[in-house]
């Protein structure tokens, strides 16, 4: 059948190969445009982040299976993309993550326990986004690309871009997945960012599936190539290579802070797990595909490289112990998450509440208090 809409033909991969600085076998390689400038200790720090982020993810996944969380969207396989990008940010930059970007929240320094509260249904976030310059995880697909663009335009208006002061010049970073590229919001954000030369980096983790919809039904060209039409640079990077992700994001952020405009980064990675704990990926993808990506594991290649560089086994063992402690911290913190007070919902609608909301709150509290044994 000759179907012009046949989704099997588009080739979304044969653009220039993604930027890579560390091969799946753990070999450092060079790239004409990008390099990682850190020393061995810096790579060790990145590896520690990778291990910790993976532990947060696996522990939270298990907590969902224990019945402690309502839902969890696992990031397994995407650690390098998130850690590489997250660690390229400076304190004055602002991150706009999605619900799967637990690694970004970690890199910004927020306690991952907050994430458990969200997915337990006990809180709406819990942290003040202004504290560490990280917004609450966005559930609406692609909406945060506009938030980031607007924030970035504000940075320009506030004179925080291109002044040549490294500790002051700032940029915004929007995180998104391949599915978000089909949203109108994403396309509007790229257009506005390009037109206004906003200091924003769009970091797309192309994990190949929008729940069950494969990439080839999402786009006919590589995602990075979409930037061309809007007039901003697009870069493809090996999303499982933490050094490459760090290098590419560092350059893109610097460009933004210097007032040279936005960049679209496509980190080519793979979601090793399910979309969420409610999803069964075996229904829509082959085991062989998952196996092929397993060989490109983002942690293994760094561990191999560190061992080749002479990092001792004691260091790895100590890291495992630290990860175990983090896992225990999460389990215990989860037990201590307080039950939410529904009455507080009324306080969180406006900065200054309204008469109507006050009345509704009073009615609710009175009704609730009419039950025996009610706490309030």
């Amino acid at each position: 059948m000759n179907d012009p809409f046949d989704p099997t033909t588009p080739d979304t991969t044969t653009d220039s190969p993604p930027v890579q600085l560390l091969t799946p076998a753990g070999q450092r390689v060079t790239d004409p445009d990008y390099s990682y400038d850190g020393d061995l200790a810096d790579v060790q720090d990145l590896y520690r982040d990778l291990v910790m982020v993976r532990r947060i993810d696996t522990e939270a996944f298990a907590l969902q299976r224990h019945g402690e969380l309502g839902l969890w969207p696992p990031l397994l396989g995407q650690e390098a993309a998130q850690v590489g990008a997250g660690r390229a940010m400076r304190p004055q930059d602002f991150a706009f993550p999605t619900y799967r970007d637990h690694g970004i929240v970690w890199c910004r320094g927020e306690d991952p326990t907050y994430l458990l509260g969200i997915f337990r249904g006990s809180s709406l976030g819990g942290w003040d986004p202004a504290d560490r310059h990280v917004a609450l995880p966005n559930i609406i697909i692609g909406a945060q690309t506009l938030h980031a663009t607007g924030y970035a335009m504000g940075l320009t208006i506030d004179g925080l871009v291109g002044t040549g002061t490294p500790d002051r010049d700032a940029a915004a970073m929007a995180f998104l997945g391949d599915g978000a590229t089909s949203q109108g919001d994403f396309n509007e954000a790229l257009d506005w960012a390009a037109v206004h030369q906003a200091p924003v980096v769009f970091f797309c983790q192309n994990n190949h599936y929008a729940i069950s919809v494969p990439l080839e039904r999402q786009t006919r060209v590589p995602i990075a190539q979409r930037a061309d039409g809007f007039g901003l640079p697009g870069v493809r990077v090996d999303g499982n290579d933490v050094l490459a992700c760090h290098a590419v994001t560092t350059a893109a952020l610097q460009r933004a802070r210097d007032g040279q405009g936005p960049t679209l980064v496509e980190a080519v990675t793979y979601r090793m797990g399910a979309h969420t704990t409610s999803d069964d990926p075996t229904r829509y993808r082959e085991a062989s595909e998952v196996e092929a990506w397993k060989a490109k594991d983002p942690l293994e290649r760094v561990a191999t490289h560190l061992r080749d560089e002479g990092v001792c086994e004691e260091w790895f063992a100590a890291l495992d112990t630290e990860a175990d402690a983090l896992g225990e911290h999460l389990r215990e913190s989860c037990q201590r998450i307080p039950e939410p007070d529904l009455a507080s919902l009324f306080d969180q609608v406006f900065v200054e509440t309204t008469v109507e909301l006050d009345q509704q709150k009073a009615e609710y509290v009175a009704w609730r208090d009419s039950f025996e044994g009610s706490v309030a």
């Binding site: 019945g67 609710y364 609730r368 039950f371």
Partner: protein, 446 residues
């Protein structure tokens, strides 16, 4: 001793089947060791252990379908020797924390909280429920019995809409039962209440298939088998079935099938007599839309559907499933072929989604593939017609010139719901389908 209660692993699941225990009594487990594999309506899931210690008891067996919140395993602390009395500690002891706080949780039939005695006087109607309150856990009893005759309650208050979850409402609707008529012990009408009222309480399935001493094999009734059985009972004893037959010469249909098979336009799809029969059904429906209708007992209406959602019965490893081609009447022949092909492939792979099996308006079943001449098919619940296509065989046939000639012959059987369709419409519809299969050129006249 800590007991692990079956969690809701998939946003609103109420039960799961225990597939395989990965641990045995006496095993020592660490936190997050895999304990058991369960199957939910969504997927196979491994459950990791929330506790470390020694497995003291497996509280449910493989093959059991258990409700969310049911304790499934008891795990003792490895460094504490517990005596048996510990297991029977009074439940009134304040638990530090319920293991099941997320998801729908265990259904406790006793109200966990009661209204204070200082509640409003009994003449005041019970307050309406507030959506933001967890009505599973905070339940209001009926207002106290009035101490003395009161002023009559306004009629509008007499018949409150009974409380029930949407699936229970759907069940009642499917069974033609008014929820207000269903007696219930609590405030909320449950599935069990509806089933009891309908007089068809489904007994619990036996725990697992087991060979009997008498040489029997007892197979638990569940999954597709259970669904099929319920659907068939509901259909057979609700809709009065009439079945009509016609035997005909389909040689021209066989020629058409052979011709289409060599047509490049049909190269990528499967062409079969079933396809032509499906097309004939859609065409015949134009003249007799009564066959594409549904009896709505609750509304006391006959609902005539505009589009033909054609169910195709498929035998699968898990049993019979009847997914339907949505809007089959608006598809071209090649589109219809592709849709049927995809539907049956999906069904055989066991990937048919529940949504694909609802909303059908008429069904086609090809019993001919089993070498059977004809039968009396039972209606798919909610539909008013089903056509069975018998085997197509070379038979002696008397042609127009009184010669006995070998021809391709088959028998069609049509069952219809006599509440909706009379013999006149049923016969016309079947005759029309037969006419098209006898001479596919007849399709031009529709």
């Amino acid at each position: 001793m800590p007991e692990f209660k079956l969690p809701d692993v998939g946003e609103g699941l109420t039960e799961a089947e225990i597939i395989t225990w990965q641990v045995s009594v006496g095993d020592t487990v660490a936190i997050n060791d895999v304990l058991v594999e369960i199957e939910t309506a969504k997927s196979l899931v491994e459950l990791p252990s929330p506790y470390a210690g020694e497995v003291r008891a497996l509280l449910v067996s493989e093959g059991d379908t258990v409700l969310v919140g049911t304790p499934i395993i008891a795990i003792g602390s490895a460094d504490v020797v517990e005596d048996a009395s510990v297991e029977t500690r009074p439940s009134a002891e304040p638990a530090k924390r319920e293991a099941m706080l997320v998801g729908y949780g265990p259904r406790t039939d006793a109200p966990t909280r009661r209204r204070r005695p200082s509640a409003p006087a009994s003449s005041v109607p019970a307050p309406s429920r507030v959506a933001s309150v967890d009505t599973e856990r905070v339940r209001q009893p009926a207002p106290p019995t009035p101490p003395a005759p009161q002023a009559p309650v306004p009629p509008s208050r007499l018949k409150l809409r009974p409380l029930a979850k949407p699936p229970v409402r759907k069940l009642a609707k499917d069974l033609g039962i008014d929820l207000a008529d269903v007696p219930t012990t609590g405030d909320v009408v449950t599935r069990a209440d509806v089933e009891a009222f309908a007089g068809r309480v489904v007994p619990d399935a036996p725990v697992a298939a087991r060979p009997d001493e008498a040489g029997e094999t007892r197979i638990p009734i569940k999954g597709v088998r259970k669904f099929t059985a319920e659907a068939m009972v509901r259909s057979a004893f609700t809709a009065p079935h009439v079945t009509e037959w016609v035997t005909l010469d389909v040689s021209r249909t066989m020629q058409l099938v052979a011709r289409l098979k060599s047509d490049p336009a049909f190269g990528a799809v499967k062409v079969s007599p079933t396809l032509i029969a499906a097309k004939a059904i859609c065409l015949a429906m134009r003249r007799t839309p009564e066959l594409n209708a549904r009896w709505d007992e609750v509304a006391q209406e006959i609902v005539v559907k505009k589009a033909v959602n054609l169910g195709i019965a498929a035998a699968t490893a898990r049993g019979l499933v009847v997914p339907n081609v949505v809007g089959a009447d608006s598809l071209s022949l090649v589109e219809l072929a592709a849709a049927i092909g995809e539907l049956t492939t999906t069904a055989r792979e066991g990937r048919t989604q529940p949504a694909q099996m609802t909303g059908g308006t008429f069904s086609l079943t090809n019993i001919g593939v089993f070498g059977i001449d004809a039968g009396t098919p039972i209606l798919n619940p909610g539909e008013s017609g089903i056509l069975a296509l018998g085997s197509i065989e070379r038979r002696a046939w008397v042609d127009e010139e009184d010669n006995v000639v070998p021809r391709w012959v088959t028998t069609l059987a049509l069952s219809f719901d006599h509440r909706v369709v009379d013999g006149e419409q049923g016969s016309r519809f079947l005759a029309d389908v037969a006419a098209i299969l006898r001479d596919p050129a007849q399709a031009l006249t529709y």
